[in-house]
Amino acid sequence: MEDLLEIGGKKIRSRLITGSGKYSDERIVAEVVAAAQCDIITVALRRVDFDHPGENVLQHIPKGKILLPNTSGARTADEAVRLARLAREMGCGNWVKIEVIEDQKYLLPDNIETLKATEILAKEGFVVLPYMSPDLPLARKLVAAGAAAVMPLGAPIGSNRGLRTLELIEIMVEEINVPVIVDAGIGRPSHAAHAMEIGAAAVLLNTAIASSSDPVAMAHAFRLAVEAGRLAFLAGLGSVSKTGRASSPLTGFLDD
């Protein structure tokens, strides 16, 4: 039986979700996606630049991928809802990553506005993936409101700091019965593997790949890390001990 990620009525093979942002030349996005072998890719919605009217990131994203527009730029639930409806109007699907951020220093999401937006958009039939600060009671409310998954941060967006909120994520993995996707802060493939080892359903990352000296190679590394972490989780990690436990037999020693 295949180990597939189930979200929004779809069964998805890859547990690595990549962003398409922070590239000076968006043509590399196609190569990153190919190396990552991701099935879901995030995009943002912005005003057309009339000096470059032909620019459109979708040209660099292969057909058949699931597009996950984010509501970046939104500072309130109303702004997120407005962006989500506009994104859906593009005709590329009804998935949305709710991202509501007023804090410009740490880029931490506003969980309360995120919940409000989730309630509205889930009722309108969107497949809602809310980006949030890890918080079990709030995650339960997001699920009750109709979120298809919950996406707690590991560390601030773009910081590459890893799983600083590890224990809160572990609590959510234990208690929440929709996919828990670690989104934001992952900087190294080992962070992604760790998130998968503790039972995250998937990881979402952008900067870790885009800020690498070789994004295509890094995307490949992340693909392997996510697969390794997931296999380890399914295999069952061994118990942890404070003392040593010998790896070789304790009898039959050669004696002088």
Binding site: S20, G21, L45, V48, M90, C92, I157, G158
Partner: protein
Amino acid sequence: MNIRINGKPESIAPDMSIEKLLSARSIDPACVVVELNKTIVKKDCFGSTVLKGGDVVEILRFVGGG
């Protein structure tokens, strides 16, 4: 006729539909979404939606993002 497009005041000819506006700016209608006075304009209405003085138009497209 004065309207606002993407936050900037612009002067356009009368009887300009959204379809004509996009075409004049070399914008592929399949790659954008349009909001007129805070209401989304469906793509199949681009030709029949004609702009009036004072209209506020937003034309957006997908860009790279995380």
